[in-house]
């Protein structure tokens, strides 16, 4: 297309405000898809980051650090205490001990300010007790619930022995962090904002790749039918009629039921559903182009049929095919979402928008609306914007609507 007609096209496109807004929204979604890893606050695919304490939190809640249990042996030798953690596990907290007099030992938790649910001391030497602690009915275990200042003291009427060992078990309370789940979390404790951004990425990727592959395949068949005519044409067009007669969702379900789920299989299913639209459009426009004199001129210049089809006919059919492509991206995205919603599309670990909506569906009656609603709204906006964009392009391409 020449620069002049391209400018003209842009000007006419911009006459519709809806179209411009749709274009901008679509571009935002494409940007989301491209930059999801940079934009999203967490990586929703990293399963190790998930914790059930965060599950089903509404929008605006903070991430909790779950409480943990720390154990340490505290050895007293010649009046000085040394702490050796019983398990070398990764913990945020550590236990400290210090003497507070001849018959007193204070046991606490680092870092300062950690809220403890309980602190239990086991194997106290005879005659010693834990201040404010309850003794186990049978065992020599003393437990203090919610110890003040996260510290307990071992006290005794007589001085404590020179050498002894106790076991301290500290259980901390759940702790708030600064991280905010802006759109809440789903049933796995996944940040919905991140999940939606990655979901857009997957949906846009699947939509573009599937619609693109269907375009290449369908257009090739359409051009072949238009060029060869006769039996080839009849066979291809009957296949197209057959495909057009079947409901897209049903075909997708059947294919995925056979192949199993996964991104590449969803793409394949969409291509199988959509190639026929392109074949039909490409064929009809190619036939009308083939009837024009410039094609006869090309034949008279003894150009090869392949060259005539690809270099002369195809570029003249391209505007219509591009319009179809825009509309079919939206259709591909909604088909993928429907399939994922029905549980045959993409795997749960890499959720698309449809999958997210589906995973929130079970919670919707317990007022945990955000898991389904937010991805649903995003999907809706995306599909509506792309459809409006495609409609506008189609109108601009339709000479009958020209003023």
């Amino acid at each position: 297309m020449s620069r002049v007609s391209l400018n003209d096209f842009a000007r006419r496109f911009a006459e519709s405000r809806t179209a411009v807004i749709s274009l901008m929204i679509s571009l935002v979604f494409v940007a989301c898809a491209l930059f999801a890893p940079l934009m999203s606050p967490t990586n929703p695919y990293d399963l190790t980051q998930l914790q059930l304490t965060d599950a089903l939190k509404p929008a605006g809640s903070k991430r909790m650090l779950p409480g943990e249990e720390v154990r340490a042996n505290i050895r007293i030798e010649a009046g000085t205490a040394s702490v050796e953690p019983a398990l070398a596990a990764q913990t945020r907290q550590s236990i400290t001990a210090e003497s507070c007099g001849a018959s007193c030992l204070s046991i606490g938790v680092q870092p300062e300010g950690t809220k403890l649910a309980s602190l239990q001391i086991r194997n106290l030497p005879a005659g010693a007790a834990v201040e404010g602690g309850k003794k186990h009915i049978v065992q020599p275990w003393w437990t203090v619930d919610n110890p003040e200042g996260s510290k307990v003291r071992i006290v005794s009427n007589s001085p404590l022995p020179e050498n002894f060992t106790v076991l301290a078990i500290a259980k901390s309370l759940d702790q708030e962090t600064d991280f905010v789940f802006r759109l809440g979390t789903d049933g796995f404790g996944r940040d919905m904002l991140s999940a939606i951004l990655y979901g857009i990425r997957i949906s846009v990727f699947v939509g573009l790749v599937a619609a693109g592959a269907a375009m290449v395949l369908g257009t090739s068949f359409g051009l072949l039918a238009a060029w060869r005519g006769g039996v080839t044409d009849a066979v291809i067009m009957r296949a197209v009629d057959f495909m057009l007669g079947l409901p897209a969702l049903l075909v997708g379900l059947a294919i995925l039921a056979i192949l199993g789920n996964g991104v590449s299989k969803v793409v394949l299913a969409i291509v199988i559903v959509q190639w026929s639209y392109y074949a039909r459009t490409a064929r009809s426009f190619a036939i009308s182009e083939l009837g024009k004199e410039y094609v006869e001129a090309a034949r008279c210049l003894r150009l090869s049929p392949t060259r005539i089809m690809l270099r002369h006919v195809l570029p003249n059919c391209m505007p219509q095919i591009i319009v179809l492509f825009t509309l079919n991206i939206a259709a591909a995205i909604s088909l993928e979402s429907s399939l994922s919603f029905l549980g045959v599309g993409l795997p749960l670990t890499r959720p698309s928008l449809g999958m997210l909506i589906a995973s929130g569906y079970e919670f919707i009656f317990s007022h945990k609306y955000w898991i389904s609603i937010y991805p649903g709204v995003v999907l809706l906006v995306m599909i509506v914007a792309m459809n409006l964009l495609g409609d506008r392009l189609r109108d601009l391409n339709n000479p009958r609507l020209d003023r």
Binding site: M1, S2, V4, S5, K292, E293, Y294, E296, A297, A298, R299, C300, L301, R302, L303, R307, H312, P315, N316
Partner: protein, 330 residues
């Protein structure tokens, strides 16, 4: 006398109309009588000598374009033989570079140019692909040809829609010239243009012919143009040639009743605006042509004989043939 460059013997071309094979079958099954085969060109024989210009005239729909396409080798024949310099078309068309010697200029200056290609590509593409000129020198080559048809060098980077009708037709002519043809078929090459522009394009074609000695088949329904340009003229009626003679002789002593009507309809004094005058009577449908002589429903001297017998072309003077049963001499 010059060598023959082109010879056509008994060329015919039929089209199946109504398209759908299923419908044809149903029609046959139901015994319906809709004719589905259209004989656009019916047993036409022509010759063209090196450097000669042959005119073809006839009303709209008489099969001129169909004949032109068959001669250009871009439409298969239903029956008949075509020879270019003695070689049958089948073997000629297999050698693409030699087949380029036959070129065609089309009627519609806009639709005959690919709207998505720049003029440089339209004109230069075939010459490069067939190795007539190396890709590195194609630009100069195209500029030279554009200059020959009177277009400025900067046309090369423009698109067809940026030109006027006459300029577009110049581009179409340049496209043909770029592959160095020996025979040029102009199918109503000026019909879509304004009168003043028509004259320019006709002068251009005459100049080209004078410079390069091209043989030309010039198709038109404009008798004045034909008379001006052509050495010999063939008159077509409903797919058949009804009269063929040297231009001077045809215009001076037309013998076939149809030709006479055509010439009577032509203004005698001014040769400026020279379209057909409407001839009384409907033009019959080529789908269902009249029996015998196709012209009999409109012919003033038709007899019962004409209704039944198909007149064959016969020579009534040296180099002057016609297909009429009742007119015997000049």
């Amino acid at each position: 006398m010059n060598e023959m460059i082109f010879e056509a013997k008994d060329l015919s071309r039929s089209f199946t109309v109504g398209r759908s094979a299923l419908r044809n079958l149903a029609n046959r099954f139901l015994g319906e009588r809709t004719p589905t085969v259209l004989r656009a060109v019916d047993n036409v024989s022509l010759t063209l000598r090196e450097g000669e210009t042959l005119g073809v005239v006839g009303e709209s729909g008489c099969g001129k374009s169909t004949l032109a396409r068959m001669i250009a080798g871009i439409l298969p024949v239903s029956s008949g033989e075509r020879h270019f310099r003695g070689e049958p078309y089948d073997s000629l068309l297999a050698r693409k570079r030699d087949a380029l010697k036959i070129q065609m200029v089309f009627q519609d200056p806009l639709s005959s140019l690919n709207p998505r290609l720049r003029v440089g590509e339209i004109v230069g593409e075939a010459a490069v692909l067939h190795g007539l000129v190396p890709r590195s020198r194609v630009k100069d080559y195209v500029v030279d040809i554009l200059a020959r048809v009177g277009l400025p060098a900067d046309s090369i980077s423009r698109y067809p829609h940026q030109f006027s009708g006459g300029q577009r037709q110049r581009v179409g002519i340049a496209r043909s010239l770029a592959v160095k043809p020996d025979m040029l078929i102009c199918d109503e090459a000026v019909a879509a243009l304004d009168v003043s522009v028509q004259a320019q394009i006709i002068n251009l074609l005459m100049d080209i012919k004078r410079e390069s000695g091209l043989a030309m088949i010039f198709i038109s329904h404009d008798l004045g143009v034909i008379r001006h340009l052509c050495d010999r003229v063939a008159v077509m009626y409903l797919g058949r040639v009804v009269e063929l003679a040297e231009t001077e002789q045809l215009f001076a002593t037309p013998t076939h009743p149809y030709t006479r009507m055509l010439l009577d309809g032509m203004p005698k004094i001014s040769l400026e605006r020279r379209k057909f005058m409407p001839i009384q009577g409907e033009i019959p449908s080529p789908l269902n042509p009249p029996s015998g002589c196709h012209f009999h429903p409109r012919c003033p001297i038709a007899t019962e004989h004409c209704r039944r017998t198909r007149p064959e072309l016969r020579e009534i003077a040296s180099g002057h043939v016609h297909a009429c049963l009742n007119v015997e001499a000049l």
